[in-house]
Amino acid sequence: MGQNPLTRLVGKISANILLTAGIIIVAGCLAIAIAAPLLAPHDLSPNPALRLLKPFREASFPLGTDAIGRDILTRLMYGIRTSVLIAFSSVVLAALIGTVVGVLSGFSNPGLFDTILMRLTDVQMGFPFVVLAMIALTLFNPDKTSIAIVLSLSLWPVYARMVRSSVMLQKDSDYIAAARLMGAGRWRIYTRYVGRNLLPAMLPLFPLDIAGMVINESLLSYMSIGIKPPEISIGNIMADARGYIASDSWYILLPGVLLVIMVLGLNFIGDSLQTLLDPSLRQKRRG
């Protein structure tokens, strides 16, 4: 309690700097993702004359070219587009599934249904994501949709547990009791009372999880079980670059740095939101 006001103050200020940085980065990435076809300086056709042009040498190819002479900047822009699309949709999907399961589970606790659902999340969370994804992606054709589904498969238990614990906490609260006494029905309590607290609790998780999904998507593509060429993802650009680590190590460095910046921006936003919204950091007065 004693340290909290100070922690909170410093937290708020640093959160704001990081938050601003995060918002700028993420906004930039979003803009690129949406407008990639308009912003891209080149098209994606190979140009054997320009094999592995090093970055920062030529103005028209600021980030160099790849092994068959395609502009890397252009390819990265399209890569961001893929990343953002897949990561965002997988998080939304996971949050939806998680919310439904969590609410059902929370309201049926204690009970068999709740126990089964929670054990299910146990299994899901304990299983190495890569192995799960590999099995799933050999089962289905790895396109954007199936990758998004596979990613959300690894994420929904997190949301389910969070929603469940929030529901269980709220279920016995006085304000729910008060609402019941005023004659509020079950549906109204779900939507107007319980639901109102869920979104703010989830809010900081979204950027953090989108960041995680960006990494996971690129990982799958890097291991050649995700997005396959000719479609572009940051992961498969890096997979491509892997062949040239000895001679042209800049090639794998660039997409990696871009990825880290993007993820960092998302994490900044998530962390700052967590600090700002954390009720335990709320100042208490003492007599």
Partner: protein, 330 residues
């Protein structure tokens, strides 16, 4: 003070509540934890009934059962003479609105993300007031009644002080024009200088609207001014129930006497009385494993062999003064 013939608005008969105690690998039921033991009372129009007991005695559970937040394990209760279990859904809805509650933890009884205005509108919406301006008019009226400025309508619960929040909570109850108010320790979380304000306000409202109040408290000083009848609860059972004046002047149950003795007071300070507790040292027994015979005997300074053998039957020592003790007459 209400006069003339007293009409009973709510009564309950032999209400009990127990929870199963589960044990072992398969969570089988190993016993019953009896929290409320056969409580009966009548609440009269325009009167205040006080329920006094220390924490863990089951008074909050009793309230929750009475309000239907939890289901009773035994007994029945009647609202205006009708059994609530056999009521139609419409009648139950109507009763719901007529019985309102003030919670002990005012902060917890408001949704943290609802403004005061939304919170006050909620009961009106639910009771079917369609027009927004009508709702606002009602809200302004009740705010006036509790002396809270409409400026606070846009605030959120945590932005109000304890006293302001308690007023908002009372306003929320009044919005639906209830007949009965259950107040669970409405002033124990408040500062001393605000307690009197709230007690006075409750008395004013009672006089103006003939409200019936069931007031739960943990000490006898707080209910002194407002209660007409007082029930003392110990380990889920009512050990003494009497008109207020008799509780303070002629308490018969040793537990009531201990409570009176233990309550701090300025007057005792002036007469240099020390703190004394007329109780055997020890803790409240586990409700899952109550003592044999009289529930109170493990703490009672007057307990004899008889108390361990037989549970005392309620005795009426004077009109409406009922005591659950073998030695009530002495």
């Amino acid at each position: 003070m209400p006069t003339g013939e007293n009409s009973v608005v709510m009564s309950c008969e032999n209400i009990s509540k127990s929870y199963p105690v589960r044990k072992g690998l398969f969570r089988r039921v190993a016993g019953q934890k009896q929290i409320v033991r056969g409580v009966s009372f009548e609440l009269e129009r325009g009167r205040t009934l006080a329920l006094v007991g220390e924490s863990g005695c089951g008074k909050t559970v009793l309230l929750r059962v009475l309000l239907g937040i939890e289901k009773n394990s035994g007994g029945r209760f009647l609202y205006r003479g009708r059994n609530t279990e056999t009521m139609s859904a419409a009648e139950q809805r109507e009763m719901r609105l007529k019985v309102q509650m003030i919670f002990q933890d005012t902060l917890g009884s408001f949704h943290p993300r609802m403004s005061v205005r939304e919170a006050l509108e909620e009961p009106l919406i639910l009771s079917g007031v369609k027009s927004g301006s009508e709702r606002m008019a009602t809200i302004e009226t009740v705010l006036g009644q509790v002396g809270l400025s409409p400026l606070y309508l846009t605030r959120y619960p945590h932005q109000l002080s304890g006293g302001q929040r308690q007023r908002a909570a009372i306003a929320r109850c009044l919005a639906v024009a209830p007949e009965i108010i259950f107040a669970d320790e409405p002033i124990s979380a408040l500062d001393v200088s605000l307690q009197a304000q709230v007690v006075n306000m409750l008395m004013d409202l009672q006089d103006d609207y003939q409200l019936s109040i069931l007031l739960v408290a943990h000490d006898l000083a707080v209910v002194r001014q407002i209660a007409d009848t007082i029930m003392i609860m110990y380990l889920g059972a009512i050990v003494e129930s009497a008109p207020a004046r008799e509780i303070y002047g002629d308490a018969r149950h040793p537990y009531t006497q201990a409570l009176l003795q233990a309550a701090p007071s300025i007057k005792k300070g002036l007469t240099d009385e020390n703190f004394t507790v007329h109780l055997k040292p020890g803790d409240l027994p586990d409700p899952a494993n109550p003592p044999s015979g009289c529930l109170f005997r493990t703490r009672c300074v007057r307990a004899t062999a008889l108390c361990a053998e037989a549970a005392p039957a309620p005795r009426e020592v004077s009109p409406k003064h009922v005591v659950l003790c073998h030695f009530a007459q002495e």
